[in-house]
């Protein structure tokens, strides 16, 4: 294998990263090999370690090193509340910014029958088991506001209702700190329709 090969293979491997094309792959490869070999070694080790230890949590289907993630294993979290999200990124966002103290269930995306993505593909069977356990008394629907997100929320709400579990949807409206004239029309009309009594 020639040097061109080792370098070309690195370029190729970097291009598997989302959002990385030929130009960025080259920039990254040159940076790693020329400027930051220590960082490159750290990256190799961190990625290999993550591949070894990070798997799926038995309960929430989020990231976990053991069979259960730190969050699900935390006795201080309210296991009666179950927040259903479309993916790991959403779970991480909520966990980072909100003071939510319940638990999660991470779907593997959203319903999209046209793409052949039905309830089974998303892990709804696991969600059903979780709801059947009897410990959940509120399902918080935190899927997106796209058509597919709404369909997924509807599907999960039905699952909850059939088991007599309360289903709630997170609030949608004008973002905090947003100027009204920069907010899109459908968000505005939703915000108007979902108005509440003003409490000082």
């Amino acid at each position: 294998m020639s040097n061109a090969d080792a370098f070309a293979q690195l370029l190729d491997a970097l291009r598997c990263l989302p959002g990385v094309g030929p130009k960025s792959a080259q920039r990254m490869a040159l940076y790693l090999l020329q400027r930051d070999r220590a960082g490159a070694v750290r990256l190799v080790e961190a990625l290999r370690r993550a591949l070894d230890v990070v798997g799926q949590c038995r309960d929430c289907r989020g990231l976990a090193e053991t069979t259960q993630c730190a969050l699900c294993a935390d006795a201080r979290r309210n296991r009666g509340q179950l927040c259903v999200v479309e993916g790991l990124a959403d779970q991480l966002s909520i966990e980072r910014s909100a003071d939510y103290r319940g638990t999660y269930f991470v779907l593997s995306g959203r319903l999209s029958p046209l793409d052949g993505i039905g309830p089974e593909e998303l892990g709804m069977d696991h969600l059903a088991l979780r709801l059947d356990s009897g410990e959940v008394n509120e399902v918080i629907l935190a899927t997106g506001t796209t058509l597919e997100g709404e369909a997924t929320a509807h599907y999960v709400a039905e699952m909850a209702r059939r088991r007599g579990i309360r289903a709630t949807r997170i609030a949608y409206g004008v973002p905090l700190g947003g100027e009204l004239d920069y907010v899109d029309g459908s968000t505005l009309s939703h915000a108007l329709a979902a108005r509440r009594d003003y409490v000082d």
Copy 2:
């Protein structure tokens, strides 16, 4: 070490890549762990291998697996022509797009006295040895058109002249296929000043 640690360390390690902030690092980490574990394994192996084998070419200071890169070892390349570039990316660009058949010398950047980057930092001593070898009869200055790039070109041209070696500068002007009214003023005035007799 908890699962949060392995994941957090991966995020951290990914952020050493140029142009990757917290958001992209998370997107990459989730993608690698969830969607493309095979790609992640490939990346680990390609990067480890590149770190092991890719070093600096004895002659051109470009990337090389052995002491000499494939390009410098290629007997069909004209060792009389030496194209001096500011960095590996420039060498790769020229090699990809031009039908240049000479050899290269890759500087480690450009002269920038204010940042403490003098001739030694760029590898000018190695370049001097190369010029002293007697095999070079033309130095092609392919550094950038920035102030530092011009200063670097000037410095290298002086080195060549002192040894009686011809120094040439790659042509600057209106890019091919470019509309004149989109070309900036200094490029245009340079293109006018550097005009040549029209040959059909």
